[in-house]
C-alpha cells in the first residue's frame, strides 16, 4: 500500500499504516476486520504485506471470532474495528477474556470523538474495564507500532486478549516512524486440545473467572514498570495525567509541566500514580470523552481535577485544552464569515439517488441504515427517517409494522446497503419472515462497501487481496430465507422504481426489492468509455426546478434577473434556469425523465448545446 518512503529507515505513516507495519513486525499471521472509519486502513495496508492472511469478515463479531480461532491455533492474530464495531464484537470479547489465548491476540478499536463519520461517540476504554482485559493506547504513529508489538508480548505472557485503542487523531495522523525488525513469536502453531481453558461451560468458566482476577493482579504489578507508562518531570505546580492524543495537546500547550503519560490505560499503575500525584501541587487529568482515568484515580482516594474543567463531549485540541485549564480563550485573529455550507452529498451518478428519489415521491416512512446512502436523509431528497446502527432499519420497519397493524401497511419501507445487509441485515429479514411480518426491504446492491472506500463484501466476487471468490447471490439468499416476493430493479430508472415500490408496499407479505447498479467510484465505472453526458437545452427550460429535487451536484441553478430573462427569450417572471455541469455529470440519466418539458437530453441529441 501507499507509504511515503524516504531514503532512511524513517518513514511517514498514519497511525493505521503504522499499526499494519507493527502487526507485520510482530509476526501476525491472521488478521480480520469489517471496514469502519477511522479503522479501515489498518487491514487495507496489512493485506499488502507478505506472509499475513487478511480478510474482510461480514461483521466485527465474525472478525474477532476468526482472530480468536487463529490465536487458539497458536499464531499471533489481529482483529480491527471502529468503536461501534466493538459493540457487535462484544460477545466474543468478553468470553475471550476467559479462554485466553495461545498465540497473541490484539483487538484494535478506533474511537471517533466528535463523530466525524459515526452515529455516536463511545469511549472504548470502558470495554477494557468491563471485559477485564488490558488496554494500551498510543498517542502517535511511532507509539502505535511500538505498543502493538508490546501488546502481543503482553497477550502471550499473561494469556489474555489485549485491546489497543486509537482515535481519529491517532489513526489518521501521519507521523514519523522508524522501521523495526520482524519478531518470531515463541508459540508454535498447531492443534492443542485444552477444554478446561477453551470450553466455557459453567464449571470451566467459574475456574477461568478466578484466573482472570489473578491475571489482573499480575497485570497491575506489570504496568507499574511497563515502559509505555512514564513520568516526564517539569514544574511541580501542576501535574497532568493523560494518554492518547490528549497527551499531545497537553505537551503542546504546557511544554514545561510534569506529565504522567499512560501508554497502558487498563489496568492502571496505582503506585506510580500515587507517587506522581504526591509530588505535584495540583493534579489535572486530561482525557478525551469519558472521565475514565478520573473515575478510577478518584476511586484510589486521590483528589484531582478532570471533567470539571475538560469537556467530556467531542474531540479535544490544543485550544480547548488551553481554555479549559487556563481560562485563556484561544480565538483566531479573524472571525468566521457567513458563507454557504458545503455538506457531503451523494456523488453525481450515484445509483442510490434514483431509488431514494422514487421513495421520496411516495411519502412513506423510511427506516434507514448506515452507509453513503444515509446522506439521502439530507435535503432535497429527505428520504430517510431513522438511522440507528448497522442492520437496524429492517428490525425497525418490522417493529413499526407490528405496532401499527393494518394502519401501517404500505407506509413503511426499510432501506439497507448490500454490505450492511451481510453485516447484520440478514437476521432482521429472517425475523420478518419467521414472525409473519409484511415489511418491504430495499437492498441497495452497488457491489461494494462504498462509504469506507470500496472494500469488497460477500457479494462482490473478490477478496481483500483481489482474488476471485464466490459472489453470494442476494436474490437467492432472500428467497432461501423464505421471502416469496423478491424483485430486482435498476435504481437509475426512477419510474420503474416507483412502480415496483408501490406494488410491493401494498403486499401483506414480506418482500425485498434489490436495486442493482455499481457504485460510480469503482475503478471499472470510472474507466468506462461509453458515458453519455446529459445537457439542458436552455431554451426549453422553464425554470420549474423539478430536476433540482434530485439533489445531483451536477445540476446547477443559474438565477436570472428580469432583464436577463428577457434577453434570453424567457418569460420575464422566470427566475432562472437549470444547467448541467459537464465536468461533474456522470451520465446516469436519472434527471432526464424528471423534466416534463424534455429540456434534459443526452449530449449530442440536443437541438442546441449550452454550456
Amino acid at each position: 500500500m501507499k507509504t511515503s518512503k524516504t531514503d532512511t529507515d524513517k518513514i511517514l505513516l498514519s497511525g493505521n499504516e503504522a499499526l499494519a507495519l507493527g502487526a507485520f513486525e510482530a509476526g501476525v499471521k491472521v488478521a480480520a476486520a469489517y471496514p469502519g472509519t477511522p479503522s479501515t486502513e489498518i487491514l487495507e495496508n496489512l493485506s499488502g504485506y507478505e506472509g499475513v492472511y487478511t480478510e474482510w469478515a461480514p461483521n466485527e463479531k465474525v472478525a474477532l471470532e476468526v482472530a480468536l480461532g487463529a490465536a487458539f491455533a497458536g499464531v499471533r492474530a489481529l482483529a480491527t474495528m471502529k468503536h461501534v464495531g466493538l459493540n457487535v464484537a462484544a460477545d466474543p470479547l468478553f468470553t475471550s477474556a476467559y479462554t485466553g489465548v495461545r498465540g497473541g491476540l490484539v483487538i484494535v478499536v478506533a474511537d471517533d470523538p466528535d463523530m466525524h463519520s459515526s452515529q455516536n461517540e463511545q469511549d472504548s476504554r470502558n470495554y477494557a474495564f468491563a471485559a477485564k482485559v488490558p488496554m494500551v493506547e498510543p498517542s502517535d504513529s511511532a507509539e502505535a507500532k511500538d505498543l502493538l508489538k508490546a501488546a502481543y508480548r503482553i497477550s502471550e505472557e499473561f494469556d489474555t486478549p489485549v485491546l489497543l485503542r486509537t482515535s481519529t487523531r491517532v489513526s489518521h495522523v501521519k507521523g514519523v516512524v522508524t522501521k523495526g525488525k520482524a519478531e518470531k513469536p515463541a508459540v508454535k502453531p498447531g492443534i492443542e486440545k485444552m477444554p478446561e481453558k477453551f470450553v466455557m461451560l459453567p464449571a470451566n468458566a467459574r475456574k477461568r473467572r478466578v484466573e482472570i482476577a489473578l491475571r489482573m493482579e499480575r497485570l497491575k504489578e506489570f504496568c507499574e514498570t511497563f515502559t509505555g507508562n512514564r513520568i516526564e518531570w517539569g514544574d511541580r505546580e501542576r501535574g497532568f495525567i493523560t494518554s492518547g492524543a490528549s497527551y499531545l495537546y497537553v505537551k503542546e500547550v504546557f511544554p514545561k509541566a510534569s506529565v504522567l503519560k499512560l501508554g497502558m490505560v487498563w489496568p492502571l499503575p496505582e503506585r506510580m500514580i500515587r507517587s506522581f500525584t504526591e509530588k505535584v501541587d495540583e493534579v489535572v487529568i486530561v482525557e478525551e470523552l469519558d472521565p475514565f482515568l478520573e473515575l478510577h484515580i478518584r476511586a484510589m482516594g486521590i483528589s484531582c481535577r478532570g471533567k470539571d474543567l475538560v469537556p467530556a463531549i467531542g474531540e479535544l485540541n490544543p485550544a480547548i485544552v488551553r481554555q479549559s485549564i487556563t481560562g485563556e480563550k484561544a480565538e483566531g485573529v479573524f472571525e468566521p464569515v457567513q458563507i454557504p455550507m458545503r455538506p457531503p452529498n451523494l456523488c453525481p451518478g450515484c445509483p442510490h439517488r434514483g431509488i431514494f428519489y422514487a421513495i421520496s415521491k411516495l411519502g412513506v416512512f423510511v427506516t434507514g441504515d448506515i452507509g453513503c446512502y444515509t446522506l439521502a436523509a439530507l435535503k432535497p431528497l429527505s428520504a430517510m427517517d431513522t438511522c440507528v446502527c448497522m442492520g437496524a432499519g429492517i428490525g425497525n420497519a418490522h417493529g413499526m409494522a407490528k405496532a401499527l397493524g393494518n394502519d401501517g401497511l404500505g407506509k413503511i419501507v426499510a432501506v439497507i446497503g448490500d454490505s450492511t445487509f451481510f453485516h447484520s441485515g440478514i437476521t432482521g429479514l429472517i425475523d420478518i419472515v419467521f414472525n409473519r411480518g409484511n415489511s418491504t426491504v430495499v437492498i441497495l446492491d452497488n457491489r461494494t462497501t462504498g462509504m469506507t472506500g470500496h472494500q469488497p463484501h460477500p457479494a462482490s466476487g473478490v477478496t481483500i487481496t483481489g482474488d476471485p471468490t464466490v459472489a453470494i447471490d442476494i436474490e437467492g439468499l432472500c428467497r432461501a430465507v423464505g421471502v416469496k416476493h423478491v424483485r430486482t430493479v435498476n435504481p437509475h430508472d426512477t419510474e420503474e422504481c416507483g412502480k415496483v415500490l408501490k406494488e410491493e408496499l401494498q403486499r401483506a407479505e414480506p418482500s425485498v426489492i434489490i436495486t442493482k447498479a455499481p457504485c460510480v467510484l469503482l475503478p471499472e465505472m470510472k474507466r468506462r468509455k461509453d458515458k453519455k453526458l446529459y445537457v439542458v437545452v436552455s431554451e426549453k427550460c422553464t425554470g420549474c426546478r423539478s430536476c433540482l429535487r434530485l439533489g445531483c451536484p451536477a445540476i446547477e441553478w443559474a438565477p436570472l434577473t428580469e432583464e436577463e430573462a428577457k434577453q434570453r427569450g424567457y418569460k420575464p417572471k422566470q427566475k432562472g434556469f437549470s444547467r448541467i455541469n459537464a465536468v461533474l455529470c456522470d451520465g446516469c440519466g436519472q434527471c432526464a425523465p424528471l423534466c416534463k418539458f424534455r429540456a434534459i437530453v443526452a449530449s449530442g441529441e440536443e437541438d442546441e448545446e449550452i454550456r
Binding site: K5, L248, A330, F334, I339, P340, P344, G453, I555
Partner: protein
C-alpha cells in the same frame, strides 16, 4: 532556516489534497523536520469540504493547527479560502486557486456564491496569491495536475529545496505523467515567485 511552521491545505473532496499533503509532508521530513499531518476521512469526503493540517518543526506534538496560527494556506477552491479564516495568522499567506466548485446549496439555488472572496481576504491584511491552477496545469499538458501546480506555488514559501519536491513527486507519480507533473510543479512555483512570493533557501 525557518524553525517551524503550520500549513493548511483546504478544498473540496476529490481535488487531490491528500496527495499534495503527502508529498509536502515527505519533503519536510527529508528536509530534516519532524512532521505531523492530519485530515479526516470517511463521510466528510463525499463532496464535502476537506482540510489537511501539516505542522513541521524540531519536535511536533499536536497534529492540529490552532486558530490564528496557520502561516501559509493553500485553498484548492476559491470559496474554501474563506471557510478556514479563523485559522489564519495575522498577515499570513493564502494561495488561492481561482477555480469555483459550487457547493450544493448554491447549485440548487438556495444560496449564492460570494463574489468578492479575494477582496475579503486582502481586506484583512492577508497576503493573497490568486492562481489559475487548472489553466496552468492544462498548459503543462496534464489538467489533473492542478494540485501539483498549487504545491509548486506553496513550495516557494517553504524552507525545503526545490530538488526535494521534484524527487518526491517523481517517486509518487507514474512515469507516464511524471514530466507533465514536474512541469506543473515548476510553473506553479514560478507563478508564486513572479507574484512576489520570495524563495527562501
Amino acid at each position: 532556516m525557518k524553525k517551524s511552521g503550520n500549513i493548511l491545505l483546504c478544498g473540496v473532496g476529490g481535488q487531490g489534497i491528500l496527495l499534495a499533503s503527502e508529498v509536502l509532508s515527505s519533503v519536510l521530513l527529508k528536509a530534516g523536520y519532524d512532521v505531523k499531518q492530519s485530515e479526516v476521512h470517511g463521510m466528510a469526503q463525499r463532496g464535502g469540504s476537506v482540510v489537511s493540517h501539516i505542522r513541521y518543526g524540531k519536535k511536533v506534538y499536536s497534529p492540529l493547527i490552532e486558530p490564528g496560527t496557520a502561516d501559509t494556506t493553500v485553498s484548492f477552491e476559491l470559496l474554501e479560502a474563506l471557510r478556514y479564516l479563523p485559522f489564519y495568522r495575522k498577515g499570513g499567506t493564502v494561495i488561492v486557486n481561482t477555480q469555483k466548485i459550487l457547493p450544493s446549496p448554491v447549485a440548487s439555488g438556495m444560496a449564492s456564491y460570494p463574489e468578492d472572496v479575494l477582496e475579503q481576504l486582502a481586506g484583512r491584511g492577508l497576503s493573497v496569491l490568486p492562481i489559475d491552477a487548472f489553466g496552468i496545469a492544462a498548459e503543462a499538458g496534464e489538467k489533473r495536475a492542478a494540485n501539483i501546480v498549487l504545491l509548486g506555488a506553496l513550495s516557494a514559501f517553504l524552507p525545503a529545496d526545490e530538488r526535494l519536491f521534484i524527487e518526491t513527486i517523481e517517486g509518487r507519480v507514474p512515469e507516464k505523467f511524471r514530466q507533465a507533473n514536474i512541469d506543473a510543479f515548476r510553473r506553479g512555483r514560478e507563478s508564486s515567485i513572479t507574484n512576489g512570493g520570495e524563495v527562501r533557501p
